[in-house]
Structure formats: structure tokens, C-alpha cells
Amino acid sequence: MIFLLLAACGDVSNATFDDDANFLAALPDEGRQTVGFGDDTTDAAARGLGERADLVELSVAIASQVNGFVLGTLGLVERVRELPPTERGDDTRRWGPYDGDCGVSASLLMSREFGVYQWSVSGHPGEGEDATVLYGTHFSGETVAGGDGSFVWDHRRWAGWCGLDESGLVTVDYDNRDGVDLLVLVEDLSLDGGEPTDWTYAYTRTDTLGDFQYRTVSDLADDGSDELATITVRDRWIPGTGGRSDAQVAGGGFGETVWSWSQCWGRTGRLTFQSDSLALTEAVGDDADCVFEVAEVDRI
């Protein structure tokens, strides 16, 4: 047998392709960098009037917007997953140029050093000069994919390439080492010519816990004044059990008053508890029946 093993020789290996997979694993992934609610949470949002948990319904809608936006930014990255690298080095890969939306010709360049991957997507529409529109850094964990990192999306540059009257800068910090942990900061986001606003989202998902919080400012009073209300919503849920939503509104038309509003839903998604500090909504149930008894909105 030893003789036979010695007699075997050659260079057959998938190491090159496996390393391609490592580089791809260091890129943000649609499945990890998006917000997901459990089915029962979604059920809660789908209940009929008087039964539904309004806050989580709002959160699901917000999450859908967040996801759409993140997916849009990652579209340029997702494209390369379907393509073999154009160039391979020991610690570098290049994909492209390949065609993106709006007639943009894009390239993805990656490099690796000590398990840290740096990457950037550059491109240009037509015959223009290359400019970077998306870039990030990824730190490997136990596996490459199971690490953490961040990436930045320059929406203003992209909107310029596409001829859109939009702006914004999106920064995403993620941590995949134990479930999914996301912190999304959106600055001066203006879509379709709207007023620029800032948004912040935090999202955590493990097998036993979901946590989604967002904060924005808005002219709730709709009185045209400069004083905007700060709205903070946090949804926490245990898959298959139920959850709790807590909201706080401060400033704007509320003056010094902070309005707190809480809702809980059960395993079937039905509203089990509701209370607000200004008695603006009908009181329902007892917060002792909630899966989370204490209101918390201060994660971000």
C-alpha cells in the first residue's frame, strides 16, 4: 500500500475553486444582511382590525423597505456569485468588468491579508472614469462566512450614474459569528426627490430570539414646523411563542412629553396586550402575559 501511495502523483485539486468560495463568502450576503421576521410575527401584522398588533405591522413594512434598499445595494455584489473570477492571484480576485443596472460597467476587486478581506465595487456608466460605489471589509471568524465586517454604499454616486434625483450614504455593520447582527445607518437618504432623512436600524436574529429596532425623525404633527419628532420602535420576539413591540415618540408636536406605546402578541399572532402612556389607544390585557414583560426601546 505504501508503494501504491508513493506511486500516486499529480496536481489534481479544487483548491483554486475552494479559495474562490472563500472570497465569495467574505462578501455580504442577501440572506444575512436582510431583516427577517418569523411567520408568527408576520401573522400578527396580518390580523384584522381590532386584533392586529399595529406596531409590528409597521415594523414589517419598515423592514421590507430596509430589505429592498439593502438588496438594491448588494445587487452589484450578487452578480459576481454567478461568474467565475476574471483574474486570480494568490490573495486577490477580480470579477469584471460586468454589466450592472443603468448601463454601468462594474468590477469587483478583492484582496486578502491575514484573514481580512477588503473589497470594492467600482464602475462607470458609458465611457466615464471608474469610481467606487460600494466597498467593505470582512474579518473571518471560525469560517470565512462566520465573521464580521462592514460595507458602505454611496447612493448619491449610484443615483448620479442612473440619472436619479436621490442621495444618501448607507453604512452596514454586520456580525455573523452568532446568528445575524446588523446595524444599518442611513444618512441623508432622499428617494425620488423627497426630503433627506436619517434612519438607523438594528437587527439581531438567533435561533431563539429576534430583535428589530429602528429610529427616524418625522414631522408627525404635519404642521410644517422645523421641530421633528423622534420615533423609536423596537420589536422583540421569540419564534413560535410571541413577541412585544415598544414605541416612543418624543419632540415635535409632543413637546416635552414622551409618548410610550406597547403591544404584545401571542403564539397565534393575536394581540394580547396594549397600553400607551397617553391613553390614546384602547387598553388590552395584562403585560404579565407578554413574553417580554418590560418595555425596552433603548438599544440604539
Partner: protein, 526 residues
């Protein structure tokens, strides 16, 4: 044209009014289940020599079929019909000799995997148009042929035929009874029957010393000697039979000892004994003569001969150089003592046996596929590909075989690699050279076998999308092989499964890889 030439040339060697023809058939191979014979084809060659050198049959009037089948026999018989008819039209009497040495059963001759029934053979002889048909059949249960015609076992009496030459009809002489085996002997290097038939026709049967051997003399000689020599064998006594359906007024002379192309060995009665005559040049016993008080003469082609008397303690050997028309007297002064170990005749026979024991070659065209057994290896490294090639298999009589083969494989596929969203197209080329050894079941219509197999293995991966260099591996892969097939006649159809271990560790996996080849083999056995 050839037929006419045959008639002309044949006439110069035969009697002016008797023209002789011969079909000589020998086949070591029999039907499925028949054990292959060692000497059947050699016996046929021996008889062909006797008939052409002493029997007045020209080579042009002879059809010799060694290892041939039914089709060749039918064609040869048909070919002679024209010359025979032409000779008869010229006023000649025609004699057709048919000699067969090989396997048979109670219904048919076994010419390899083909057969000719006794009834067909009889009809072929009758259809030849020859005035006299003489058939010598040396085969197991050949007495079935005479029994079919109502023949009986011949008595051990002197057949006193003094008829005139203008005969009509047929004579059939068979080597054994309808339920008897015909036996070969390693000692004499041939079958008993043919050995004594050739000996008798060469002079051993010339009882009356007139240098002519008639059918009756030959039969009487071969009957006595065959019965005597087989009486102590394990297979039991073998009784030649004859069927005489001859309307003859003359003696049917088969051989004449004084023909111009032959010389004569003279064994004087002053030196009695049983002498075996071995043709050194052709490496075969050509005669066995018992000398009592009368002189015996044996006609032989020119050449070198050993005349041996086997004594209890040693051999007594005379070396003879015989020229055409010469008469060499082999008296006691020409003999010298020799050791059995130095017996050239025995050594030659042993060599003949060894030759007969040589393996048969079967060539197979192989078509099939090569597949790795581990699904992960198959999906990520080596997709299943087609393969085709050639295999040579040498099979011995006892069931052993060795084989050599070459297979080339080629195919395309897509590798499935974890974490990759794009397809990795790959072209696989491979070539293997294998050797094997094992055992197979006895030859029947269905045959199976199996054994060990060792393969030299080369494989190349090419990536048509570019960006990755071609990759190769070389290895030696041990394995096992099993096959099952249909073997009708010379053709073989096998389904073959090979399982190998490839001791190549890819990407740090714990062990090598297993792969298998499923092949359809279309073969021909030579």
C-alpha cells in the same frame, strides 16, 4: 480451372483408372462442454500425409481443414464435386477418402462450436459423386454413424476381400462404438485409433507382405491394436466399428508402399519386437509395427526417423536417415541403448501437449463508463465519463486466465463545489492500462469469471473556461473484476464490472478514492 488442373495432376500420381480424393478434417475444439483435445488436428495432419504420400491422393485433390467449422467443410465437399464428376466423365473410377478427428456425440460431429450431423455427413459423402466413399471417423461415439446405417461392430476376423477394382458404394470405419469414448494418449502423442490407422496404412497392416494395404487389412490392424491398447485404460476398451456397403469386385487398396516418393523401412523377422517409428522432422509417431517371425516393411516419406523398442529398463533406439526409393534394413545392429529421459519422441510429444495447453486468446472491444463511488468526489472532482478500449484475455483449459487491457475515457461535466454559485465546467480525459488474473467457470453458453486487476491510471482535468491550468494525476490502482457473459461459439458478450482503489489523496482527504467501471465487452475467441 483449378479443378481441371487437380484432375490432371492427380492422375499422374494415382492409378490410371482410379483417381483419389480426400477431405481431411481435424478440430481440437468441440462443442460447449467438450474438453479440448490435444492431438486431433495433429492426427489429421498425420493422416493427410499418409493419404498423399502412400494413398495416391494428390495435394490438389486434397482438402485439409484444421480447426475449421461447418461452413468450411460444406464448401470443401462442394469444391470436390466438380473434379470428381470430371474424372468420372473421363472414365476413371473415383475414390473419396473422408477423415475426421475431433469431438462428436451420438447425433453430430462437433466442428468447434458448429456441428454436422451424421445424417448430413452421410448425405455429403453420397452427394460427392465418388464411386467409392471411404470415411474414417475418429471421434467419441462415432459408432453412431455406422449404427445409423445398421452397421455392426466388426468381428475380429480376417476380411478376405478379393474383389475387382470396379467397386461402388461406401465404407465407414469409426474409432469407437456408439456409446464409447475415443481416447487420446500422451504416450503416443495422438489418438489410439488414428495412430494405428496411420501405422497400418504405412505398412504395419500389410499382412501378406505385398506392399499394398487394403481396407480390410487396415481395418483388421486398427481394430486389433486399438482394442488391445485401450483395454487397460481408465476410459475402457474402445472398439472400432465398420459399415460396409460396397458393391465391389476387386480389392480396395488404400496405400501402396512402393511409391516413388517414399522409402522403405525393413524390419526383419530376425529381430522381433514391437517398434514405434517416430518422424523426427515432423515430431510425431508415424507407425507402430509388431514384428514376429516375418519381415515387415513400412513405407515412409524421406527423412529422419527414430525406431524405438520400449524395454522394461531402457529404450532401444535406431536412428535412420531414409531417402526416396531407398530400403533401410533396421536389424539389431542398428540399435543402441538409450535412457527414457533422453527419449526425443517423448519430449516432442510433451511439447505438443504444452503447445495444446497454451492459453487461448480472446479479444474484447470494451465500451462503458467509469464512475467514482464517493458522491462528493464524483460531484466535485470527477464526473462519470464514458470509456472504451480493448482487452486481450488469455484463457487456459483449467479455467485460469490472465488479461491485459487498455481503456480510454473522455467526458464533460460540471463540478459542484460548496460555496460557488457559478458552474465549473470540466473536461475529463483518462487512460488506463490494466493487467488481470483470475478464474472463470467452465465453458458453457453462460460463462462467468472474476479475479484481481491492477491498473495504471492517468487522468487529466481541463477547464474550458480558462483561468485554471490543466491538472493531471498518475497512479496505480489495484482492484477486482467480475464478468458474466454469453459465449456462443467464437463470439463472446460480457458484462464486466471492475472496482478499483485509487490511492490518490485529493485536497487532504483522509483516504484515496474508489472507482468502478461498468463495461460491455464484445469479443472474439481465437
Amino acid at each position: 480451372m483449378i479443378g481441371a488442373l487437380a484432375i490432371v495432376l492427380g492422375a499422374t500420381f494415382a492409378h490410371a483408372d482410379v483417381q483419389r480424393f480426400a477431405v481431411v478434417v481435424g478440430n481440437n475444439e468441440g462443442a460447449i462442454g467438450d474438453a479440448a483435445l490435444y492431438f486431433a488436428e495433429q492426427d489429421a495432419r498425420k493422416m493427410q500425409g499418409v493419404l498423399t504420400e502412400l494413398g495416391g491422393v494428390s495435394l490438389l485433390n486434397t482438402r485439409s481443414l484444421y480447426g475449421k467449422g461447418r461452413a468450411e467443410l460444406l464448401r470443401s465437399m462442394a469444391e470436390l464435386q466438380g473434379p470428381i464428376a470430371g474424372s468420372r466423365q473421363n472414365g476413371n473410377q473415383t475414390v473419396l477418402y473422408f477423415f475426421y478427428s475431433g469431438h462428436a456425440d451420438e447425433t453430430a460431429l462437433h466442428l468447434g462450436r458448429t456441428s454436422v450431423t451424421w445424417a448430413e455427413l452421410t448425405a455429403l459423402l453420397d452427394k460427392s459423386g465418388a464411386d467409392v466413399r471411404v470415411a474414417f471417423v475418429d471421434a467419441c461415439q462415432s459408432g453412431s454413424m455406422t449404427r445409423r446405417k445398421g452397421g455392426t461392430r466388426a468381428p475380429t476376423f480376417a476380411f478376405d476381400l478379393e474383389e475387382r477394382l470396379d467397386a461402388r458404394g461406401s465404407v465407414i470405419v469409426t474409432s469407437s462404438g456408439g456409446d464409447e469414448a475415443s481416447q487420446e494418449s500422451d504416450e503416443i502423442g495422438g489418438s489410439y485409433f488414428t495412430h494405428f490407422l496411420a501405422s497400418g496404412l504405412s505398412g504395419g497392416a500389410d499382412d501378406d507382405g505385398d506392399s499394398r494395404v487394403t481396407l480390410s487389412e487396415a481395418y483388421r490392424y486398427v481394430y486389433h491394436e486399438t482394442v488391445y491398447r485401450t483395454s487397460a485404460t481408465r476410459s475402457g476398451t474402445q472398439h472400432p466399428t465398420q459399415d460396409w456397403d460396397l458393391n465391389a469386385n476387386g480389392e480396395v487398396v488404400v496405400t501402396e508402399l512402393g511409391r516413388s516418393g517414399t522409402g522403405t523401412l525393413h524390419l526383419p523377422g530376425s529381430n522381433p519386437g514391437t517398434f514405434a517409428v517416430f518422424d523426427v522432422d515432423r515430431r510425431m509417431f508415424v507407425s507402430q509395427v509388431e514384428v514376429t517371425v516375418f519381415d515387415r516393411r513400412i513405407a515412409l516419406r524421406p527423412g529422419r526417423y527414430l525406431v524405438q523398442e520400449r524395454l522394461p529398463t531402457h529404450l532401444s533406439v535406431a536412428e535412420i536417415q531414409l531417402a526416396a526409393r531407398a530400403v533401410v534394413t533396421v536389424d539389431s545392429t542398428r540399435f543402441r541403448d538409450g535412457e527414457y529421459e533422453d527419449d526425443i519422441a517423448k519430449g516432442s510429444i510433451d511439447k505438443s501437449i504444452r503447445d495444446a495447453k497454451r492459453p487461448k486468446l480472446a479479444l474484447h472491444l470494451l465500451v462503458g463508463g467509469r464512475s467514482f463511488s464517493d458522491p462528493t468526489i464524483q460531484a466535485a472532482y470527477f464526473p462519470t465519463t464514458g470509456a472504451a478500449g480493448l482487452e486481450g484475455r488469455f484463457g487456459w483449459r483449467d479455467g485460469k486466465y490472465v488479461s491485459m487491457d487498455f481503456l480510454a475515457g473522455s467526458g464533460q461535466g460540471t463540478l459542484a463545489i460548496d460555496g460557488l454559485g457559478y458552474p465549473v465546467d470540466v473536461d475529463l480525459d483518462s487512460a488506463t492500462f490494466g493487467v488481470g488474473a483470475g478464474w472463470r467457470t467452465p465453458e458453457f453458453i453462460v460463462q462467468a469469471g472474476g479475479g484481481l486487476h491492477l491498473q495504471g491510471f492517468w487522468l487529466r482535468r481541463r477547464f474550458p473556461d480558462g483561468g485554471v491550468e490543466d491538472q493531471e494525476l498518475f497512479s496505480v490502482a489495484p482492484g477486482i473484476v467480475g464478468w458474466l457473459g454469453l459465449h456462443p461459439g467464437q463470439f463472446e458478450i460480457d458484462v464486466q464490472l471492475r472496482v478499483h482503489y485509487l490511492p490518490y489523496v485529493v485536497d487532504g482527504r483522509d483516504n484515496g478514492m474508489g472507482f468502478s467501471e461498468l463495461l460491455l465487452g464484445l469479443g472474439y475467441r481465437f
